[in-house]
Symmetry: C2
Subunit: 209 residues, 2 copies
């Protein structure tokens, strides 16, 4: 079972590494980071470089593909190597997935038209404009298309996906393996729970899309 995580300049690191940490422990999985060519790919903070070991051309028929988000997503919404690969690979995937604003890339390629999906909380209007039906949940399954909310939500989505690909028990074993028993020190992880002044401050100072 080949799982390909696409990388592009200015991706958000946790969008890619959270799901990798879960999916790489699925029995029989082979997780590969790919980009238009093998290279180190720098994240949106400019301080983290993750290596894409494969070119898109090396992995034309993944069983599962995952598109992370990050401000670099904007440059991937038109014609180019990532979209060409995505559209060709999607024809034979078992699951086509995204984290955060990665769903905007799926939607811009026409893959989410009329489908229920989700994205980063600040990007839901754009997701609707691109023809999807945004949902207010942590992750959304619509047929083989699985999309998650922002950044850290890729971990939750990947555990849910692991349960479908393997069994709930396998997913639970992976969850125990990464000791995912979250205890955030604040209840500020969503615009619905964060204090209004935190939401307002974030909107004005955001380095996110």
């Amino acid at each position: 079972m080949q799982i390909v995580i696409a990388l592009f300049d200015r991706f958000t690191a946790l969008d890619a590494v959270g799901p990798h940490q879960v999916l790489t422990h699925l029995p029989g999985s082979e997780v590969i980071f790919a980009s238009e060519r093998p290279r180190g790919v720098c994240d949106d903070t400019g301080t983290l470089t993750l290596v894409a070991d494969a070119a898109f051309a090396d992995v034309p028929v993944p069983d599962i593909l995952l598109i992370p988000g990050g401000p670099g997503q904007a440059a991937q919404m038109g014609d180019g190597p990532l979209r060409d690969w995505l559209l060709a690979a999607d024809k034979t995937t078992t699951w086509t997935t995204s984290v955060c604003t990665g769903s905007l890339i799926l939607a811009a390629a026409g893959l989410l038209t009329g489908r229920e999906a989700t994205t980063y909380w600040l990007a839901k209007d754009e997701l609707a404009r691109l023809g999807a039906k945004p949902q207010d949940t942590r992750y959304v399954f619509d047929g083989k298309y699985v999309t998650s909310a922002g950044v850290s939500a890729g971990i939750d989505m990947s555990l849910a996906l692991a349960a479908k690909i393997a069994t709930p028990e396998v997913a639970q074993r992976i969850q125990l393996g990464i000791e995912y028993d979250p205890r955030p020190p604040f209840n500020a992880g969503s615009p619905a729970t964060a204090r209004p002044e935190v939401v307002a401050a974030f909107r004005t100072t955001s380095r996110f899309p």
Copy 2:
């Protein structure tokens, strides 16, 4: 404020990338991945390479240092470049921190003797043997030493640390930025909550330390 995350062969990727994703958004922070020399460092699954841009010698006096865990931790518990750097850098850090079995490296270097600390759930006995006092909490502050439970716990620890370094409001803004409103599909993230058969299966099949 210089924050150095140490990398070594067979580290666990989320141990390093979770805290990076939080701490890199602290105002005035500069996060640097370092190893004994600048190089790509392969994680414990063999499928993820993160680039250490700096050598330990380039970053002798970080304000904050973070040691991730992973099975590669065992090779870092004796004399060597990482321990030499750690002991020298610790003399002037504001915070010395670890995720998962990274605390075993701190303890083996003598930094946690008599201190309250935590580690990966399977490694608590070893942490006690190394002279620390293991706690059953998600993260532990003891003076300037901050240690977290396994893998994903580094995110919680880093948000708590961000609140102390800056303000709770800044930490909450970062939490909202990474949409950290966790919704694990199962309640299996700790040996206290996972079903006994899941815990037993994990112990026998574990690729973790």
